[in-house]
């Protein structure tokens, strides 16, 4: 059937044309995207100055427990005995009875340094990211306890589900080569 063969050829021609156009188009698009600048990877991070310690990090992360943990900027801490990140704000007594402690999992632990100073550290395996300590520290203290996404745990989802739920818009994409937004600078002071 010569007529059929010709139609077949016509369609093939059309297909080749479309294919060629698509290849050129996709190639050009890829070129444009890669030429737009040194496109490094992004990771998600919490801006501690925007964070309002609402506690959604604990429940919204796709991981359980959350990849968001409390981080302590030791150089900013006042090493107070009555730490409002460690103790309930309306304190019953200055002792470590459960009625006085804020952290629900015991992740925030303290040790004596020298009179009257105490050091506070976070056990990240226990921390669930509820931000209660960060809230207490932010409200009444120096704000040296704050929430950060820990990249050894974070799956770096294409869109962070905490970002979608964060009321303060504090979860944002940051360049992967500076993946943390730490309070009080990165390094401890001299």
């Amino acid at each position: 059937m010569p007529d059929d063969e010709r139609r077949l050829t016509r369609r093939e021609l059309l297909h080749s044309a479309v294919r060629g156009a698509a290849l050129v188009g996709a190639g050009a698009a890829l070129g444009v995207f890669s030429g737009r600048g040194s496109a490094g990877e992004y990771v998600w991070q919490i801006d501690p100055d925007k964070c309002m310690q609402c506690g959604r990090c604990a429940t919204e992360c796709v991981l359980s427990p959350s990849a968001v943990k409390c981080v302590h900027a030791f150089a900013m801490c006042g090493y107070c005995e009555f730490c409002t990140g460690y103790f309930e704000p309306e304190l019953n007594g200055l002792n470590t009875g459960a009625e006085n402690l804020l952290c629900p999992t015991g992740a925030l632990q303290r040790s004596f340094v020298e009179d009257p100073y105490y050091k506070y550290v976070i056990d990240e395996d226990l921390c669930m990211g509820c931000a209660r300590c960060a809230k207490g520290c932010r409200m009444f203290g120096n704000g040296s306890l704050f929430m950060q996404i820990r990249h050894d745990r974070c799956l770096n989802c294409n869109q962070c589900s905490i970002a979608a739920a964060c009321p303060a818009g504090a979860v944002m994409r940051v360049p992967a080569d500076s993946p943390y937004m730490l309070r009080g600078g990165d390094a401890a002071p001299e």
Binding site: V18, A22, A39, M52, G78, Y79, S144, H151, C154
Partner: protein
């Protein structure tokens, strides 16, 4: 009034000054003490994210898997090979890489980089988006066959596939195009990634996730035992792009290695309804058919126009998804009611020094922009529906059984139903090495 003798309490003042910094605006309410015991501040640990190099490893694995899938499907014609590759992809891109990032989700990154000037598309994400497209132009949907972890997880549960009636197949087949348009518009208008949020299988890769999506994924997988690859066929927005590219691909898998003899053995072989039958005796075209076609071609611009006009109604829906508009609405409602208790959103807005009037102005602007986005989406929906109707009324003459290039996911399940294929495998026929494009 008596003046206080300040000297008498100078000592007290000194002690107090040491204990308390003043409650100033800076956060240093209690300055770090000068330790006498030589205590040094511990370092804040900063575990890094996944190294960049590994992202490029992912891209290499993707290229390798795509090439292998093309080779196994078109040249080697090995269903077993494709199945094994599928399990590998499921393990690597799914369980190991936890489903992120995948080409399906990359649609949104590309869309976001177009609408948000502050977002530069990372190179690896661009590679993930474009590489399967190039492969589809050359080899058909080899990505779907055994590289996509979403496809692979569905492929392994296909046990008792039922045939869906063609009318259902066709009508649900419109959905991926509509989903594609919706997802792109939603991303560009609101910055939200709905494909990722509504991904039913990623929860299984991560072994945790939102309950609603885990349940949906579970239901889809159980249903997938009987209706193969539900997501790929009726939902996947990336598949929608691949379909079009696959139609014009240079090469494509074939059912049998040689010319079809229309033995009908493969007729039930495809669980995805992707095998086209010979056109038989029924006369193509005809006056009635041409009249229908003409009417549908006239209908197309009308549908697009209707979509454009009514798409405006999608504006409020998009606005509801937009974080800024939502914030503005929340603030508005609270102001109206003189709310005593603020929601976290508005509280954060006020704390960050936001000006309500500016926010309201921004929300108004966004709302009118979203109406334009809605019109665009309506236009797209009209076009998709119209074109689908036109394509349904076209007839082609076909001699033998061929894969439907749009629907075929190149999985190779039909290979073994072809007697010529089986004969070659058993050495009864010489292996056909020439790879015709199988039009």
């Amino acid at each position: 009034m008596q003046r206080l003798n300040k000297t008498c309490c100078a000592g007290l003042v000194a002690v107090l000054a040491m204990l308390y910094a003043l409650p100033a605006e800076s956060l240093e309410r209690f300055p770090p003490p000068d330790f006498e015991s030589g205590f040094v501040f511990p370092e804040v640990t900063k575990p890094g994210p996944r190294p960049q190099l590994l992202e490029y490893l992912d891209v290499s694995v993707l290229i390798g898997a795509l090439s292998l899938a093309a080779y196994l499907g078109i040249r080697k014609r090995s269903r077993t090979g494709l199945a094994v590759l599928g399990v590998f992809s499921l393990a690597y891109f799914g369980l190991w890489r936890r489903g992120c990032i995948c080409p399906v989700g990359a649609i949104q990154n590309v869309a976001l980089s177009l609408s948000d000037g502050g977002y530069v598309l990372p190179l690896s994400v661009a590679a993930f988006f474009f590489l399967p497209l190039f492969f589809a132009l050359l080899f058909g949907r080899v990505f779907c066959s055994s590289v996509c972890p979403l496809g692979a997880i569905q492929d392994v549960v296909v046990l008792k596939p039922l045939r869906l009636p063609m009318w259902l197949e066709h009508s649900l087949g419109v959905l991926p195009y509509l989903y594609l348009g919706t997802a792109v518009v939603v991303t560009m208008a609101t910055g939200r990634f709905m494909i990722c949020r509504l991904d039913p299988y990623v929860g299984f890769f991560r072994l945790s996730g939102r309950l609603a999506m885990l349940i949906t994924g579970g239901i889809l997988l159980v249903a997938g035992v009987f209706v193969g690859r539900i997501y790929c066929r009726f939902i996947c927005p990336y598949g929608a792009i691949l379909r079009i590219f696959s139609i014009v691909s240079k090469w494509h898998v074939r059912i049998g290695p040689r010319d079809c003899v229309a033995c009908t053995l493969c007729e039930d072989a495809c669980p995805y309804n992707a095998i086209l039958k010979p056109s038989g005796e029924s006369a193509p075209g005809g006056i009635a058919g041409r009249a229908l076609l003409a009417r549908l071609i006239i209908l197309l611009p009308l549908l697009m126009l209707a979509g454009y006009i009514h798409g405006k109604r999608l504006g409020p829906v998009l606005s509801k998804m937009h974080p800024r508009v939502r914030l503005a609405e929340q603030l508005w409602v609270e102001e109206e009611r003189n709310a005593r208790v603020r929601s976290d959103q508005t509280l954060a807005f006020i704390e960050q020094g936001g000006v309500p009037k500016e926010l309201f102005g921004e929300a108004l602007l966004l709302k009118s922009k979203n109406e334009s986005w809605g019109r665009l989406l309506g236009l797209w929906a009209g076009a998709v529906t119209g074109l689908k109707l036109i394509s349904l009324s076209l007839r082609r003459r076909r001699e033998g059984y061929t894969p439907d290039r749009a629907k075929c996911v190149s999985c190779g399940r039909c290979f073994s139903s072809c007697p010529q294929h089986r004969a070659e495998r058993r050495g009864l026929l010489p292996v056909e090495r020439s790879v015709p494009d199988g039009s």
